[in-house]
């Protein structure tokens, strides 16, 4: 079975994002960029399925600027077999991303398409669900466990607000990863070297006939209301007094 994995190039999760002075967005000049953390989990899951013998080939896909190649090389170094970069310098919204991924799924015919649950830049949490809808496939979102039951279906345990829920999905299916699905490995140096010669195909959105014009126009981006540091108290008694002053407790 072939597995497809979607990886997005985003701001590194350790960087504190700064709003541009002209309120047009986030300042990304000279900022460290990385693979979206949920997508590392997606790549890791695919590799584990291959190691278990469930999957035969892993294809990593990214839609983004030329520099998104770096994230695909990382996926290849972790263990993906080949990669597809759909290159565009424009911002591509989740709906258009899902349309491109759906076209790629049509060509590649994977058994499972694994995405992150959320990109940590736009925090949309929608691409995987949209992809599943466009393909008419079932979706296992916010997955903390993925288990194949033969070649016909997969059981996905999902992190939901009340706890955990398990659903059974007919294959092919879409899965989106949550934090507890696995702990992604680091690529070893020899594997990073080897990844340089793995195939990476270059495409454009036009190759898939997908229109990427935005449906949402960003009018402005501002900083949230700032919280300022309050007071420090020296003892538990003082802490209790201060909490009482808020009136929340009697």
């Amino acid at each position: 079975m072939k597995l497809l994995v979607a990886v997005k190039r985003v701001i590194d999760y350790n960087v504190k994002p700064r709003v541009k002075a002209d309120q047009t967005g986030i300042d990304l000049a000279n900022v460290k960029m990385s693979m979206n953390p949920f997508d590392e989990i997606a790549v890791e899951e695919a590799i584990r399925l291959k190691e278990k013998g469930v999957a035969s080939e892993i294809v990593a896909v990214s839609i983004g600027p030329a520099k998104a190649q770096e994230m695909l090389r990382t996926a290849l170094a972790m263990g993906a077999d080949r990669a597809i970069l759909v290159q565009t310098e424009d911002e591509v919204e989740p709906l258009a991303v899902a349309k491109i991924l759906a076209k790629i799924a049509g060509e590649e015919q994977p058994g499972l398409f694994i995405l992150g649950k959320q990109a940590i830049d736009d925090d949309s949490n929608q691409t995987g669900q949209m992809l599943a809808a466009l393909l008419g496939w079932p979706q296992g979102t916010f997955a903390s466990k993925v288990e194949f039951d033969g070649t016909e279906s997969v059981s996905v345990t999902r992190e939901v607000d009340g706890g955990l829920e398990t659903v059974k999905l007919n294959l092919p299916a879409v899965v989106t990863t949550d934090l507890r699905l696995n702990e992604p490995r680091y690529a070893s140096l020899p594997n990073i070297m080897k990844a340089k010669s793995k195939p990476l195909a270059q495409k454009t959105p036009a190759d898939y006939g997908v229109e990427t014009a935005s449906r949402l126009t960003v009018l402005k981006v501002v900083e949230p209301p700032k919280r300022t540091a309050g007071i420090k108290v020296g003892s538990v008694d003082e802490l209790i007094d201060k909490i009482r002053e808020t009136g929340v407790i009697g």
Binding site: Q126, E159, V167, R180, V248, I249
Partner: protein, 309 residues
């Protein structure tokens, strides 16, 4: 504008997340509701009483019993022929279903809105809440998820919505529900609690979490939350996680104990009215957002606090 709001419910009870979503919808226009599930007559009655609601569409069918997105999304898409906007709370249920509806309607979802500026314009948090974007949608129909803590709750009574049975295409044969492990707690629910006590990695074990955090929460009548580190380490289950990728909360009082204050954690709690932090490191970033901070060892401070309250 005619809006359709997805009613969130569990075990026959309409959940509070619905109420903030109704308020958001009412800023766009007429509010209609959808109750989808199995044996949901009681939920429909509760829904019809919410102040200001018009029609309550009820799809009572085993296919909708566990809220499977594969089955519910086509039902919503069909009802959207007669509505202009679909709104769901940004809960795991809403986040699972709404984007699937959006793709069926070929519209771009507006996720996790904080405000309605006008019929096409909304604000929403991006980058873990480090920025607020104002976005304008050019889609004719809107699909929206709502950060319910950002909206007042609509009143649970005073309304007299008209209940109408609807049917959809039922089971799509793509997926099935296998089982759930849903925690039942006597404590208030995290997302609607007035007070929350949260513990972090510093607790070191599930036993310590139990021994230090829970008695304080009980004393305060509080819900219990946690950082990702505490959940990953297995001290508490996943549904305790507060943050960018967990639950977003805004209680009147949030007590962070042994939590450093990473941006991903702050994203989930910095709209709390009063933040109290207890941390042994005086430079911990949590103190930059805390209204009241106490530098100290939680294993000494927390028992004393619990006892003296």
């Amino acid at each position: 504008m005619k809006t359709l709001v997805l009613v969130e419910h569990e075990e026959g009870q309409l959940k509070d997340a619905t109420l903030g979503t109704v308020t958001a919808a009412s800023k766009l226009g007429e509010v209609h509701l959808l109750v989808a599930g199995e044996g949901v007559g009681g939920v429909a009655d509760q829904a019809a009483k919410i102040a200001g609601v018009g029609k309550v569409h009820v799809a009572d069918d085993a296919a909708y019993g566990h809220g499977l997105a594969e089955n519910v999304a086509p039902l919503v898409a069909k009802l959207m022929e007669e509505h202009d906007a679909f709104l769901a709370p940004a809960t795991t249920t809403g986040k699972n279903i709404a984007p699937r509806v959006a793709a069926l309607l070929d519209v771009m979802q507006i996720s996790d809105i904080l405000s309605v500026e006008d019929q096409d314009t909304f604000t929403r948090p991006i980058y873990a809440g480090n920025a607020i974007a104002t976005v304008k949608s050019s889609d004719a129909k809107k699909v929206i998820t709502v950060r319910t803590t950002a909206f007042e709750k609509a009143a649970r009574d005073g309304g007299s919505g008209e209940i109408e049975a609807v049917s959809g295409s039922g089971d799509q044969g793509l997926s099935s529900f296998v089982g759930a492990e849903i925690a039942h707690s006597e404590r208030p629910e995290l997302t609607s609690a007035k007070i929350i006590v949260s513990g972090g990695r510093a607790l070191g074990s599930g036993e310590a979490f139990h021994q230090y955090i829970e008695p304080l929460a009980d004393k305060l009548g509080a819900a219990v939350g946690a950082s990702r580190a505490a959940v990953d380490a297995g001290y508490v289950p996943n549904d305790y996680q507060v943050g960018q990728t967990g639950k977003v909360v805004a209680p009147e009082l949030y007590v962070a104990i042994g939590i450093s204050g990473a941006i991903q954690h702050l994203a989930g709690m910095k709209d709390s009215k009063t933040i109290v932090a207890i941390n042994k490191d005086e430079d911990a970033p949590i103190f930059q957002v805390a209204d009241i901070g106490l530098v100290g060892d939680l294993f000494k401070v927390v028992p004393e606090l619990t006892e003296k309250l």
